[in-house]
Amino acid sequence: MITATTVDAKGQSCPGPLVSLAKALQKAAPGDLFELLATDPGSRSDVPSWADLSGNELLESSTLEDGTYRYLIRKAA
């Protein structure tokens, strides 16, 4: 069972969530899973763009019951 590391970027505005995510990924191994939590509405377009630019894989995006955006990301090989 592979567990995802949670990156809590709730409350942060652009480019905060992406910077937090990038910093977490720096130390990770290829294939590692990350769960990004954000409240920045801009992240809905920015996280897919970031995945496209960086080559990391966005596996899932969803909105939790409390309105938090949740993204599941796999670090590129």
Binding site: G11, Q12, S13, C14, P15, G16, L18, V19, L21, A22, K23, S49, W50, L53, S54, G55, N56
Partner: protein, 194 residues
């Protein structure tokens, strides 16, 4: 009869070979002058206003966070944004010193291009940024350095304004000139002047 045919065939072959050679040479010459763009962002940070240095640092940081190469060339007023926070009056002569008084160094002291209101504008802007948890330019500069963004001062503007290497933030790249700045921009897929 057969011999004539063979000679003709050879001549044709030689001609098409020469033609092919010419085409290869032309292709090679073309490839040598072709510019290969890198997955890279280069920003010429000309403006030192808060409302310029802010997007500059946001974009440079985001590019690095997205796995792109990222570099910022600080020139003219942009250079004052990377003066060390504690450094007050810089320059050798009265003109340079006056410039530094008019343009207090460091991103923390950057003014707004509009709605400065004797400092109330930037204070309000920063209050709003705090409320929305937007990182400030000085924080973004530190993050940029952390993520490997190359921050490069302009040698000519440093000389013009009398700014010494020790007046500027630590961890900057060596100062460069216009040609090197153009080389930075030439191989960057995205280059901006802010």
């Amino acid at each position: 009869m057969i011999e004539v045919a063979i000679t003709e065939e050879r001549a044709e072959l030689a001609a098409s070979f020469a033609d092919l050679l010419q085409r290869v040479e032309a292709l090679e010459a073309g490839a040598a002058t072709q510019i290969v763009k890198k997955n890279k962002l280069t920003i010429i940070a000309w403006g030192g206003d808060l409302d310029r240095i802010w997007p500059t640092t946001i974009l440079a940081t985001t590019a690095a966070a997205s796995g792109m190469e990222s570099s910022v060339f600080f020139t003219f007023w942009g250079l004052f944004a990377i003066v060390k926070p504690g450094v007050r009056i810089t320059g050798e002569n009265w003109m340079q010193k006056m410039m530094s008084v008019m343009n207090p160094g460091s991103a923390q002291k950057a003014k707004l291009s509009h709605y400065q209101f004797l400092g109330a504008g930037p204070a309000m802007f920063k209050k709003l940024a705090d409320d929305h948890r937007v990182a400030k330019p000085e924080e973004l500069i530190a993050t940029a350095q952390d993520l490997g963004v190359r921050l490069i001062p302009c040698q000519m503007t440093m000389d013009l304004l009398g700014l010494r290497r020790e007046d500027l933030l630590d961890g900057l790249e060596e100062p460069i000139g216009a040609a090197t700045a153009i080389a930075e921009m030439r191989d960057a897929a995205v280059s901006l002047f802010i």
